[in-house]
Amino acid sequence: MDDKGSLAAYLGRDDLTFSPVEVSPNLYAMAMNTEDSLREYIRLFLRVPVLGSLTPLARIFDFVANAAPAVKEILAVGKLCYEVRERHYDIVIVDSEASGHFVAQVSAPDALATLVRIGIVADQTKWMSNLLHDPEVSTVLAVVTPEEMPVVETIELRDRLATATPIDFAGVLVNRMPAALVDAELLATVAPTSGHLATSVQVGEWLSERRSNAELHARRLADALELGNVETIAEAPAGTHSPERITDHLVGEMRRILDEHA
């Protein structure tokens, strides 16, 4: 939704456009662009000839973007909902904008419905709301790093979502959990020393504190959201990984967790 180019890079593309491309078998990717979305909308639903001259379209877009921000948000959400309704894909995964903006986007159909009572937009927001509100169709997965600010923002995101729109909240994925390499108990067994070993112990303490802080924040998040059990997915080795490698790692970890529960 917020095209920063990093998704394109992960998928091995130079850039992504509004027109979806097949990046690997059965996996398509696109980047949101509200102006293209408006163009498609007008072509599909209004059948107004806009191709001859772009001036009216540009003027409408100017209007849309500046005078009625809700409409800009609805164009983004509308495109997503349209792809879902038309069943062009089995599953649509949305890399949404940062948390504050996301609430405005996902609740835009509800917000607009209170403003626009008749007209095409009024008709168009109803089915979007229906898709977004149906837990069988749509859900939100929050991704968070185990640090204080992101955790607080995620809790706030869930609360703001809950008041703005009745969309399902699936849970959270805690990323970048620091590896548990040394535990504090083990460090405590090393007698006070000086020189290199003392530095090694400090390194161990630093990493161990980092890990326990992260665990604390993950726990706080789980408690605040009443998520109950927290499953820990083992860390992948440090560094940047290809999507295939991340997928393999995640699938392996999911299997392990399922086996443990079986």
Partner: protein
């Protein structure tokens, strides 16, 4: 804190010496706008710079924050921060520090109250449904009021330095573009179209295609709601436009400096690099890139060698000697392995961070580094320590 030189009055509070470049930046700037990706300690950095400036300089400092967590309020010993400025207790400071959190709705209401030509228009705007939705529900409505607030803070003459924490990432750019957009909006033909009486709309051939499309998309009722709102809003055109112009000028003023905050993580850096480029393209003065969460150098230095020594267990090595000296607790193999793993991890992190710093330096701005500390920022003291430790 450093030890006071003997010839100085002992009652004078001593400060940790600031990095000369940080000192220089805080001494010269009248406004510092902090931009950066989310989750890199941007709000904390803004507050830390504010605390350091108020403590080291005889300046009246204001930190304007958008901190969604209201966590800064707690850290600064304040119950809540609202739209109004509140003083922060700062022991032994040369200057003073106030903090305010920008409340979008309240700020818009203030603006309408200030610019509305009369009480009737004011009440009609404030009571308009579209106005209420626009100002409270949509993110971009935040952008313009942020610039209004910082303009107010600067022009009031109450503050010598205003530190502004902007919303994460690209939203910071929409904040900076907001005054220009506001000005363009009022001068646009579109607004004139929207607010023109219905009859003249129909008569104007040029505008017909627009209204055919707009009516079909939005419905005539919504369109007339919009027209009513903007007709009211237009009565404020004069004062709002001239203010937007002055706000825009302030953003490009040489005494306004920009600081980009990042962490050495690749995703954050990509975003920070983009912000650096865009700030320059807009002609803003980039004063520094604050790089947070670096691994402490005293731990990172020599980590790879220590890891090797721990694994090899070379009896001549310092590690062995040290553990022999600690006669009562020889290192077990498990401890050795764990410590070696920790050393290798920190060496990896340090390598990543060194590469990240090298890239950040290529952006060509002054780099202020901050090492990752254990624990969270919980009070003014830790904010001060964080700010004072910034090094080039």
């Amino acid at each position: 804190m450093i030890v006071a030189p003997g010839n100085m009055d002992e009652t004078i509070e001593q400060f940790a010496p600031l990095d000369p470049e940080l000192f220089d930046m805080l001494a010269k700037s009248r406004m510092i706008i902090i931009c950066g990706p989310g989750g890199v300690g941007k709000t904390t950095s803004a507050a830390a710079l504010g605390v350091v400036a108020a403590r080291h300089f005889p300046k009246r400092v204001l930190v304007l924050t958008v901190d969604p967590a209201r966590r800064l309020a707690t850290a600064l010993g304040l119950g809540t921060i609202g739209n109004a400025e509140v003083p922060v207790e700062l022991a032994g400071a040369k200057g003073s520090l106030d903090i305010a959190m920008i409340d979008t709705k309240a700020s818009w209401d203030d603006m309408v109250r200030r610019h509305a030509p009369d009480g009737v228009t004011r009440d009609r705007v404030l009571g308009n449904d579209l106005y209420k939705t626009l100002t409270s529900r949509f993110v971009h409505s935040h952008d313009y009021v942020v610039t209004e607030r910082l303009y107010d803070a600067r022009e009031s003459g109450v503050y010598d330095l205003v530190v502004v924490d902007t919303p994460p990432s690209r939203s910071a750019l929409s904040v900076l573009d907001a005054p220009r957009r506001m000005e363009q909006f009022f001068s646009s033909r579109l607004l004139k179209l929207l607010t023109a009486p219905t009859q003249s709309r129909l008569l104007s051939l040029a505008s017909r295609p627009f209204f055919i499309v707009a009516d079909r998309i939005l419905g005539a009722a919504f369109l007339s709601d919009i027209a009513e709102f903007f007709t009211l809003f237009r009565t404020m055109e004069g004062p709002v436009v001239s203010r937007a112009r002055r706000v825009g000028a302030l953003l490009s003023d040489p005494a306004t400096s920009y600081v980009v905050v990042t962490s050495p993580e690749p995703v954050a850096m990509q975003e920070a690099g983009y912000l650096v480029e865009e700030l320059r393209r807009r002609g803003h003065r980039l004063d520094a890139v604050v790089t947070n969460r670096l691994v402490p150098s005293r731990l990172a230095t020599g980590a790879a060698e220590r890891a090797e020594a721990l694994i090899e267990g070379n009896p001549l090595h310092d590690v062995e000697r040290a553990s022999r000296d600690a006669a009562d607790a020889p290192l077990t193999t498990a401890t050795r392995r764990a410590l070696a793993a920790a050393e290798r991890e920190i060496a990896n992190i340090a390598n990543q961070h060194a590469a990240a710093l090298a890239e950040i330096r290529r952006w060509g701005a002054r780099v202020l580094m901050s090492e990752s500390r254990g624990g969270d920022i919980t009070d003014v003291t830790s904010l001060l320590a964080l700010g004072e430790a910034l090094r080039t």
